[in-house]
């Protein structure tokens, strides 16, 4: 590898970006040097992608400067970024699937005529020059994901980029493809390319990067050498748990008589197993937290428990009722309350608040020939008061704020006194007040003796609310521990697929 050039290629200074009241980037400074792989590490929503979208002109920052080769420049669009020598491969490829590789590489070049033979020759030249093998004549739609990624990288390189941003490039690759990608990157870096590598997988980051910058909640925690200890990186990524949310009255939990019993659950999604042989119990009065980087099976687990998806195999028992593959109506009848991460899709936004509150039990509110609208409204008024929802019964649900939508869902579910509660990302996108309220309601359910499954990407929340935590990685439970024994470092390692076998504490 070349000695690292101290002159930075690209410098980001004080980049700030807000979406509404959410701060995606908070005064972030970052430098990218010639010939380095610079990893950008952080949890989901830490602001990694936003920062790089700003660099590539897909998003405009609210404040901050971008400096290329020592000169400040304004990047308004990817066209400006490309002109400044910046290339990016986003998570969703921007390739035209019905077109050939050569045609895709030729797109965006300004010329009046398209000459297929010349385009193929150019594609072959680029392929040889950068050592990335692609077949110019093949249709992109016929290529594997790994091959498509190579086309994307080649597309960026062919536009003479000097800084290449890869947004979670390994998320879609099988291990052999990852190895090949890393070999390619090492070669390119040796030729002086600067690479930004977005990831939340610790092992990969350590394997490939020269430097690592860690983002948490939009702010830069720090920049460290690539060889930094994994546990140190995990701590930087996850932070310290907050401890102010106290759980009152820890009644002894009767683990011998679980309310929810899940055995050998298998779910197949898109050809791969989204869940592999997942088993756990939840006792009455217990909150079981599910930790994991998103996309490791949490969505599938919640969907199956909610009745929105059929498992390929396994058993889900609530009390004595088998619910694997049951319809939502049967699951509701068995006393399972479901609060999934996608609140709006779980309600009918174009119907009123009052109607949404009774949608799970329409038949309780009138005979077949008539809906008792007065009772529906009175019922809604009661729940609005009890759950402090800022809305009127006849308001269209879609007009409510995110926090109030979540409270509507919470009210619909919890007012029925469910024996089992399945809840995912309960406070995502909520303001502080609503967050606190939702958490206290979940703790109240625990107090009332329900079995609660809590999926959350917010580790602070997970550790504060849960009695026990399991970690999902690639569809499997890779660790289980009592919440008070769990520390963010260890969780971060497990979540990043580093089963802590070298110290034998987890797995």
């Amino acid at each position: 590898m070349l000695p690292i050039d101290p002159e930075p290629l690209v410098e980001l200074r004080g980049i700030t970006k807000r979406f509404g009241h959410l701060v995606a980037n908070d005064g972030v400074d970052l430098t990218i040097r010639r010939g380095e792989v610079h990893a950008l590490l952080g949890e989901n929503g830490a602001g990694k992608t936003t920062l790089m979208r700003i660099l590539y002109g897909l998003t405009t920052p609210d404040a901050g400067d971008i400096v290329v080769d020592g000169r400040p420049i304004v990047i308004r669009s990817p066209r400006d970024a490309i002109a400044a020598g910046i290339g990016m491969v986003t998570q969703h490829f921007s390739l035209v699937r019905p077109m050939t590789v050569a045609e895709n590489l030729a797109l965006g070049r300004s010329s009046f005529r398209y000459d297929e033979a010349a385009a193929r020759a150019r594609a072959r030249d680029a392929s040889v020059r950068y050592g990335i093998s692609v077949d110019p004549g093949r249709r992109v739609g016929d290529l594997s994901v790994g091959e498509q990624q190579r086309v994307e990288i080649l597309k960026a390189l062919a536009r003479d980029c000097r800084v290449l941003v890869l947004d979670e490039p390994t998320a879609v690759l099988v291990p052999q493809e990852v190895t090949a990608l890393f070999a390619t990157l090492e070669r390119l870096v040796a030729d002086g390319l600067g690479v930004v590598f977005i990831s939340h997988k610790l092992g990969e980051v350590r394997a490939i990067s020269d430097r690592v910058s860690v983002l948490r909640k939009g702010a830069l925690v720090g920049t460290a050498a690539g060889a930094t200890d994994e546990r140190e990186l995990a701590r930087m990524m996850v932070g310290r748990p907050m401890t102010d949310l106290a759980r009152r009255g820890d009644a002894p939990i009767d683990v011998d008589r679980p309310l929810l019993r899940v055995r050998d659950l298998r779910v197949t999604g898109a050809g791969v197993d989204a869940l592999r042989s997942v088993s756990f119990d939840i006792a009455p009065g217990e909150i079981l937290g599910v930790a994991g980087v998103s996309g490791n099976g949490q969505t599938e687990l919640v969907d199956v428990l909610a009745g929105m998806r059929r498992p390929e195999a396994g058993s889900i028992r609530v009390g004595d009722t088998e619910l694997a593959g049951a319809r939502p109506s049967q699951i509701i009848a068995a006393g399972v309350g479901r609060i999934p991460e996608d609140r709006h899709a779980s309600l009918v936004p174009d119907l009123s608040v009052a109607v949404n509150l009774v949608l799970e039990r329409i038949d309780d509110f009138g005979g077949w020939a008539r809906l008792d609208e007065r009772r529906i409204r009175a019922h809604a008024a009661g729940l609005i008061e009890r759950y402090a929802i800022r809305a009127r019964p006849d308001d269209r649900l879609a007009t409510l704020s995110g926090g109030n939508v979540q409270k509507v869902l919470l009210a619909r579910v919890l007012s029925r006194d469910p024996r089992v509660v399945v809840v995912s990302q309960p406070t995502r996108g909520l303001d502080v007040g609503a967050t606190e309220y939702v958490r206290s309601e979940l703790l109240a359910r625990r107090q009332a003796g329900s079995a609660v499954l809590l999926v959350s990407e917010d580790l602070d929340e997970l550790l504060a609310l849960s009695d026990r935590v399991i970690v999902l990685y690639e569809g499997q439970i890779v660790g289980e521990m009592r919440a008070e024994e769990a520390d963010p470092e260890r969780l971060g390692m497990l979540m990043a697929g580093r089963a802590a076998d070298h110290d034998g504490r987890a797995a």
């Binding site: 897909l58 998003t59 909610a306 009918v348 009138g366």
Partner: protein
Amino acid sequence: MTLGIRSVRAPRWRTLALSTPGLVLTALLITFLLTAGPIAIAGGNPLSAYAEFLVVPLTSRFSILEVLVTATPLLLTGTAVALAFRGGYWNIGAEGQLLVGAIMAAAIGQVAGLPQILAIPLMILGGAIGGALWALGPALLRVRFGIDEVVTTLLLNPVALLLVNALLHGPWRDPVSGFPESPRIVESAEFPQLLERSRLHLGFGVAILIVAAVGYVVGRTPAGLRLRAVGLSPHGAKFAGIDVGRTLLFTALVSGAIAGIAGVGEVAGIQYRLTSGLSPGFGYTGIVVATLGALSMPGVTLAALLLGDLAVGASSAGRALGIPSQLGAVVQATLLLVTIALLAIRRNRLVGSAIAPDAAGVAADAVAADMAVSPVEADEASR
């Protein structure tokens, strides 16, 4: 695409123009402005043409009743389509369902010896069953296999017409005249006239009853609430424990049955026999009626009467002003497009403007959930 959308506080004139009564008047006004040119080119005075299209039909007893006669099948097909669309079932097959209903009516109506009190309910019931049967296949394909009902219901329309022609050129060819018309239905099966010296028949009363019943069921009953929930958000409805497949099937069959009854009315109230020209596209016009009426029953009623008015007016305008009566169709089509545009504006309360793509993304996410069929979903569905 970088077309940005952002929501704005609507000025007062816009709120007024987009209220339901305001919308109808606004649509008519814009339509008038847009069609004035073509009418002038055709050699007519736009103002007098409009008076002829819309006002003159309402000035004599005879033509008012003709408006109601013309509106009768439109009330029914409009209701059938509106009901289906409310339930998220895109039934484009009202035309075929109407024809099969008409076949059933002609078959039952030919049976001699039935007293009126039996013959008429039997015909209506038979027509409803015929329409529902014609709707059954596409509905099952949709619910079981997810096959797009827009295509299947549409493609069954010409099949129904072929069925009518097969009957008229085969077993039902008029034995006396040899024309491709079915034998006349017996007298006891004819719908009675509602008023002396007019063509207004029982079917109009039946149509009004059905419009009112559908309005009640959709708005006030558990079944109607399920139907609306499925139509607005199939995922949200399924999540709440509603059997989406069964609700769609129910919606499709009731929609088909109502369209079938429209066919009964034309056979038993107007033609007294099955003819191949029985329906000049009542089923397709039903889609226009449902859309113009914003899928609400008062809206459908108003739209059916308006289109009836326009149809009667257009045919007399041709004679009175010497302009082609096809201009009526031009006005009708323009009115449809204008109304769709106004409904879209009202639905989204959005204006187009080019702003930063990220903000557009956030805004689009925010409104995606707000819209029954958002561009995002439509985009995903088409992939």
